[in-house]
Symmetry: C2
Subunit: 416 residues, 2 copies
């Protein structure tokens, strides 16, 4: 008998029929003798409907009131799922974040969980109930309703699993696990049985939108056993996210190829090469709440340097305008940019102990005549920025070069 936390996203509870399907799956786990806590999101579309309603009233809705409003989305789902479970003859009870109590800080619309009271839930589980908890929400110390920001239901699931010391946290999504890359681009993409937390973090932040980054960090911090499964297919074991130390044997060096075509590149040319210049360039960008991803700076020969970074494509125009505004002040020669870029990354904890991954990657791209515009590396990933039109080609040839194809026998495995 295990204690399992299951999390279902908006698509998995998108209509009454799907909610009944979730109830049937929960019933099977109960039938095996497991205790089950279910975390649910709002039905798909509901959060956007509520946001639109709020914007009809106030162009920038008040954050406290927006949380009061948006949190009703999950509240509706928990009630419906509890009804569906009772309809199957199970004992079930729903809780809002406030009722649990999931205490957060008071940063409305992007709150962080501070503590979770596990008393009621444990008592209910011991009394044979399935406990259904609203994801994405909590209350601050003063009892004001807060939300964790979009996608925060994953975090609720992991945080509950940590607080309850659950045996496993299962995240049900519309994919059946984590793949070596996007199967729509590379049909030979394989589902990974296991992946390390660090790889998952890199894959998630690079655009494999399977799990919320924050939830993965949370799971790593509290050593929660996390599994990604499909809510629409039965029987698969999904992908288990592990700690590297658990299982070093037979691990592939490279776990997957991630990519992102939402970025744009901006270069500030001929910047005086003096201390504080990076701050002078990125400060105004950060103040405008524009997130910056890759940042590259090379020292030039004539006392000036070129400074390049990437931003989300939606914020490209805004960022360019800001930089043109400060160009004279910082003494830069020119501000140029390119929206037609893509980022491709090779990810894997194995590369730490293997030289030659970077050169293999660059050689593979060179053989296809793909020019590399930017390079950025971390301990477990190498990212390159290339012309957008080569994206699919690059992903396919890298997937093959690192033996990630389903049919191939991995050559680059390690037994140490």
């Amino acid at each position: 008998m295990a204690l399992i936390v299951q999390k279902y996203g908006g698509t998995s509870v998108g209509n009454p029929e799907r909610i009944k399907n979730v109830a049937r799956r929960v019933a099977r786990f109960r039938g095996l003798g497991h205790q089950v806590v279910v975390v649910v999101s709002a039905m798909s579309g509901e959060t956007n409907r509520l946001l639109a309603l709020a914007k009809e009233i106030q162009s920038t809705p008040d954050p406290r009131e927006l949380d009061v409003m948006v949190s009703t989305g999950e509240q509706v789902t928990i009630a419906l799922l509890a009804m569906a479970l009772k309809d199957l003859g199970l004992k079930a009870k729903s809780y809002t974040g406030a009722q649990v109590r999931i205490v957060t800080d008071d940063a409305h619309t992007k709150a962080r969980i501070v503590s979770i009271d596990d008393n009621k839930i444990h008592a209910d589980l011991d009394a044979g109930h399935v406990v259904v908890v609203a994801g994405f929400q909590g209350v601050d110390e003063d009892g004001n309703i807060t939300t964790l920001g979009r996608g925060g239901s994953d975090t609720t699931g992991v945080a509950l699993a940590a607080a309850l010391k659950a045996d496993e946290c299962q995240i049900y999504t519309d994919v059946d696990g984590v793949y070596t890359t996007d199967p729509r681009i590379v049909p030979e993409a394989r589902r990974l049985d296991t992946i390390t937390f660090e790889e998952m973090l890199e894959l998630a932040s690079l655009g494999s939108k399977v799990l919320q980054i924050r939830s993965v960090e949370f799971a790593g911090k509290y050593k929660v056993k996390l599994r990604v499964l499909s809510s629409f297919e039965e029987g698969g074991d999904g992908t288990l996210i592990t700690f590297e130390d658990d299982d070093k044997m037979e691990k592939a060096i490279i776990s997957g190829i991630a990519f992102n075509r939402d970025e744009a590149k901006i270069t500030v040319l001929g910047v005086p090469d003096r201390p504080g210049i990076a701050y002078q360039i990125l400060g105004p960008v950060a103040e405008a709440n524009i997130d910056v991803d890759m940042i590259i700076q090379n020292v030039g020969a004539d006392g000036t340097t070129d400074f390049t970074f990437t931003v989300h494509r939606n914020e490209y125009a805004k960022a360019i305008a800001i930089l043109k505004g400060v160009q004279a002040h910082i003494g830069a020669r020119e501000v140029v940019g390119d929206e037609k870029i893509a980022k491709v990354s090779v990810v894997g904890v194995g590369m730490r102990s293997h030289v030659g991954i970077a050169s293999a990657m660059f050689r593979t791209l060179a053989e296809e005549g793909i020019n590399i515009q930017m390079i950025s590396t971390s301990e477990i990933k190498i990212s390159v920025v290339i012309d957008e039109k080569y994206l699919e080609l690059a992903v396919r040839v890298l997937h093959k070069a690192f033996n990630l194809d389903e049919s191939s026998t991995p050559l680059l495995t390690t037994s140490k």
Copy 2:
């Protein structure tokens, strides 16, 4: 400077534009220096939408979970109204029933208010906030969400006014006050400036659906000054609901003509005239949760009697079936019924001290050839059941006979 509780129903907050109108009215009261607490219902249609969703999951939705779900309707409205108020530059803060805390018993879907914590609201009012409270909901002692049953937002408004010792509770509806009868039937119907609680109770229960009965009882019990106003028209003073003792002078004997065409009549003929027979007839009806309105029994000559009562027309078929089932057991001769009836009532505290009201009523109906099928009286009303086809005629002639027409000078006023 006064403390005013205003309650707006679902139609008054039915869309963003109407919510903004409510905010503008509240702003005007704030501008006059008043403290304002606003109680709101769910946007019209929302509660029915949620109920329908629940029924797709469970044919008889679990009451605890139904309350969790349906209470989101008001939660959305409080957030939207608070946003609209802030958009006008006012300070505003929303509270769910649980946040206030409005503590109720644990009778889900029809809970009763036990206590209200007024600390937070008073503190917010003193800090210059408009406080927006979700109507219709509360929490039980264990923190489970409860609802007061449909229409319960009026009760929330009155209960809050009592707890906060407000100077006035204003109920905004789609009518601009209480009329002597339905203006759609009698164009000369007059809006009453004042009406007593008792008259209001009789008028409400007889089908003048301006206020929830329970809220009027509550107001009477806690001596809350209650006023009914239009949320769509400006400037009127509506109808003030008073205690009889306040103002006995110049009061009309009859305050209005109420009617109800939702009822059906059932007669059990030839019942043995023995103790306990009323219970034997009505017991099975009550067990089936069928509400009974008028009940009449006359002693017959031959040791048997006829027993007649009225039920809601929707439950007529069910009630007839139940009685035919027990007919043999109670030894009745026959069960007959009539769906084509209507009830007309003359209401007024003044009639207590005036003989002749009943005979004036009966004479008026007789002059029009309207046969009276049943009669029932209380201290402040006389009700008759007549053929449905005469309903409008009866209301019109009674309205005129008791000098309720706008143009007429009331003859039957009293100065004692």
